[in-house]
Symmetry: D2
Subunit: 340 residues, 4 copies
């Protein structure tokens, strides 16, 4: 299957390229970058040295293929969806354009034009753990935001079991790569290094995706931490009734027993007791753990993932694997490093 | 005034030494370390090179002086309090031994022997912003824990104004120096570097200090982050009635208007909108900021400080300054660095 | 082919395990750890969660298999070589025990007993780029040290071409994982974080390996830098005659044209102009670049690699691939991440 | 004495401001920034919160005062020197404009116009350890570059004693703040974090300053490391005759015995055996150490400093202290932190 990546000069697009280059069922056809057109991939992503002979092309040069991945800034996918749908029968969008199905919810978080409702209705939510059946044979897939994906996987089993009382506090921590490739004052190394910066105490856009997927009210605070890759969400929940940790684990085990990319973390050692992102760099895993206080009225569910992989490119490839009927783990077998 | 530091081989003790060496009213008399006795201070704290000719002595060698700072592991201060009270008329304790006044609350968080109630009653809480009058002329002072101090300064004005509904979630993030000087698996650089480790999702001991000082119920979660110095607490609060941000700022301004070491952070730039610890390294400041969501039902108060200074040694010196009737800022004027 | 790893609780051993678990030709049979016997692999290496059901066994429990990897402290391999050679027909040693063929050279750098000369003579140098023929069908393989491997690959082509005048200065920079798994004062995070510590200005043991392989005198200085993984060597060389950069590149291209794991870095951008280790984490690549000053009397050759992979476990697997006649890149295809 | 800072929005200018605000003999009069005119200092340098009520002014608004510090990009000082010399009787320049006295040497390293020779001749080299007498009563002072200063202090005693044979290799490592305040691709956190980037293998401009001050030929390689602040130089030297370490120490002790800001580091512990920058953050110290190999033909001299303080702003204040006849350490007493 021939795949092209639109917007392969950015960080998410670069990860799609990296994963497709090692995918047993995919041949990488073309990669676009307006800014880097004509240069070899390695000039932008030095990890791709000797991995490919491709050079970047412009969007206009893209030829028909079997699947296109759209890794462009928000707003660009909805503008180009006609074109890209004519280029390839399968379109996987990594932007926010086709994630929110409810117009009013979208309006609260995003300015600018809304997507065409017809196109919107064709997109499947790219969340394999919640929408596997919808993804089988899908032609249009919209994968969720990085922090949203972590929070959705952390919260959905509880919410579905009716175990959440009131609003959930999602305390999200994120590395610098989530901010993309364009330098600004906030990403300048002397300012960003060692940061612990609550950039968004309320109202982050990913809130909308979590509420849509889980059906519970969410307060979300986002803190930029010292890391390049990695997202961790700590979800603080008041259980709606008396539960034990044992019962909670059973809810999560039932939800994720057969999932290839969700791992439940239940260790005794404080070092690895709850998930953290550093050992997940480069992997498509979302690790989930939990802790209930002895009074039983405060539950913390912690999820971690690599924002560019399970929070973006890897999840997109997973969705394609499902849509195409391939082994779900094809091209996604990297286990992660320790120490790191 | 002659001062001695008991336990000057550790990180907090080393900071007391550093500050006293530059204090205009204090002469550093002796510094003890069981392990390093006989070695120069710089062999343990290389920043003290050329700052002092002292060598470490054992506890037994300590002579009478005007004030002793106790920077020993929890439990050691209560054992030695008779001795140290006979060595100096003023005792400043940096351990947890004399912080908790209620026996039952103490029992919930600490094992082992409790302090003698008579001695306990002599200790003043080393929180200048809450107990300035109690500290004037005090002979015995117990300074709070690093994360507790940040949370207390963040919450007390709100709690005192009756603005807190239900339990507060204190999400604390801490650098590695808070764990002290002794290497273990968790502090081994390959494991600790880049960590985002929720080491204590519930029940951290500092919870007790915050509840004691503020009189509101607290849930506290502690995450180890990539940093050597620095503590940040994000306090998530449901206001007990409708308030505006303007009104909240007025509560904080009234509380801290004349405080030399509490700064209110109210910037428009996301970069410096809320406090973060890195620019506070080496300073005695606690920076406080807040954000209320538009619905008015979720308030985040963020406080940051250097765990070894405002969270320990600097605060102890501040308390001594008040007890002695000196300029409160004596020896504590370092403004912090940027960039860093 | 059944493989067992002796000493799989350490960092190098853990990497051998990780790589073998994904190797198409290998079945991981047993992993030993004296300290962790009975625990699952993931308790020590959290990246191995859900990758294997094995638990650690003791050395005594190791059964016959096809290949053993020895990842033990220096000295242990020479003690156990009889045993391990009876356990498996192929022994790959990651320690220093069988690296140095000359007794006098060894004596200058290592204390303690020397290896039995008969066993020593059976070991092939585990440097595919220099000793590929020797490795084909080899039964005993000794892979080089991490910094030595980087320096050897950087210097050998020049030395073989007679282009080196006098002693080479090898300025090596290394992350903390090279120090192994045991915590000590120097690896304690508050001390090691942000370090730029010239731990060994002269006489590092890897000097002996570089001199043996390249036949030129070497001065080596080793600096610990802020990183967990990664080695970079900057080799400062006085050319023995007038050369151009073009001629130098041609020497390197001739040497490494067909090498799957050596990449020549020749970019115009300062950002990626010379190799650096961070994008090599987890990969088996050694990247090499060079710069000659305009006067032509000072040549800098820079090489970078992941100390635990190309500097240890990955190189060992590469050697096994050659010894076994498999595809040389089997199990070693991870391309590395960007950004990271 | 009234002081103004021209270019106080940058990193070096911000450090001058920080130091002057705490200087006992100086009143900070005005601080300029074209970009930030009208904003409070803290909006740019958050460490200055509550330290000053000043707001930035434009260069045109600067009034007469007693001393001006010029912290502008290279080229701007020579353009403005007439104006600034009329504004204040003392001018301290932190740019490179007036550092190089030899026209030919300058031409090899800098493009663009050269400074007026008359003005150039009025500037004293701002290197107290080499030019204290010249600085007394000086009206115009040009302080050296950060890496140059470290290398000059490391090499000058040896060079003056005729102990250097041939060219010295200066291997310099530098944090990101040395690159200034303007974001670019190389300073973007995901790219710069964890870097070990030999940005300049040859020909860095500071080479010229070192050769000018020390009179020996220098090869300089510059590597960007993971740090915000800090410079370390490792100087590799072939002694011109047989020397002992003892004799070398005596050369350095004679040179720096009475220097308030040069410290000789001669420890036995590998942890603190040679200087490193992290404990020097915020201080005006240059730490120097050395190691001679057993053959006596390879000497490593290591120097470390904070590039923004001893490598810039602090050194400028030190020079002003000498020029004004004040206590040399006035305003420069911060001892640095440990751990950090």
């Amino acid at each position: 299957m021939k795949a092209s990546v639109i917007g392969g000069g950015g960080y998410i697009g670069g990860e799609v390229v990296r994963l497709l280059l090692q995918h047993p069922e995919v041949e990488l056809a073309q990669v676009t970058s307006t800014r880097h057109s004509g240069r070899p991939l390695r000039a932008v992503h030095p990890n791709l040295r000797d991995q490919s002979d491709l050079t970047y092309v412009t969007d206009d040069e893209v030829r028909d293929c079997d699947v296109v991945f759209l890794a462009m800034p928000h707003g660009a996918s909805m503008k180009g969806v006609d074109r890209w749908s004519s280029v390839a029968p399968v379109v996987v969008d990594l932007s926010a354009d086709f994630r929110l199905t409810d117009h009013a919810r979208r309006e609260r978080y995003y300015r600018g034009p809304a997507p065409d409702p017809i196109w919107l209705s064709r997109f499947q939510a790219g969340i394999p753990e919640l929408n596997r059946e919808g993804l089988r044979g899908a032609s249009h897939i919209a994968v969720p935001g990085c922090m949203a994906n972590a929070a959705i996987l952390a919260l959905h089993p509880l919410a579905a079991a009716g175990l959440v009382d009131g609003a959930v506090l999602v305390d999200a921590r994120t590395g610098s790569s989530g901010g993309g490739r364009t330098p600004d004052e906030g990403s300048h190394h002397p300012e960003r290094s060692g940061a612990l910066r609550m950039a968004k105490p309320h109202g982050h856009r990913h809130t909308a995706e979590i509420e849509q997927a889980c059906g519970v009210p969410v307060q979300m605070s986002v803190t930029a931490i010292e890391a390049v890759r990695g997202v961790q969400v700590a979800c603080h929940i008041r259980p709606s009734r008396t539960v034990t940790e044992r019962e909670l684990w059973s809810v999560y085990r039932d939800a994720y027993r057969d999932e290839p990319f969700v791992r439940l973390v239940r260790e005794r050692s404080a070092l690895h007791r709850l998930p953290e992102p550093k050992i997940l760099s480069g992997t498509n895993f979302c690790d989930i753990g939990l802790a209930l206080n002895s009074a039983g009225d405060h539950l913390v569910v912690v999820a971690a993932l690599d924002n560019l992989v399970k929070g973006g490119a890897g999840n997109a490839v997973h969705c394609l694997n499902i849509a195409s009927g391939w082994d779900e783990t094809a091209g996604l077998s990297f286990a992660g490093l320790h120490p790191v």
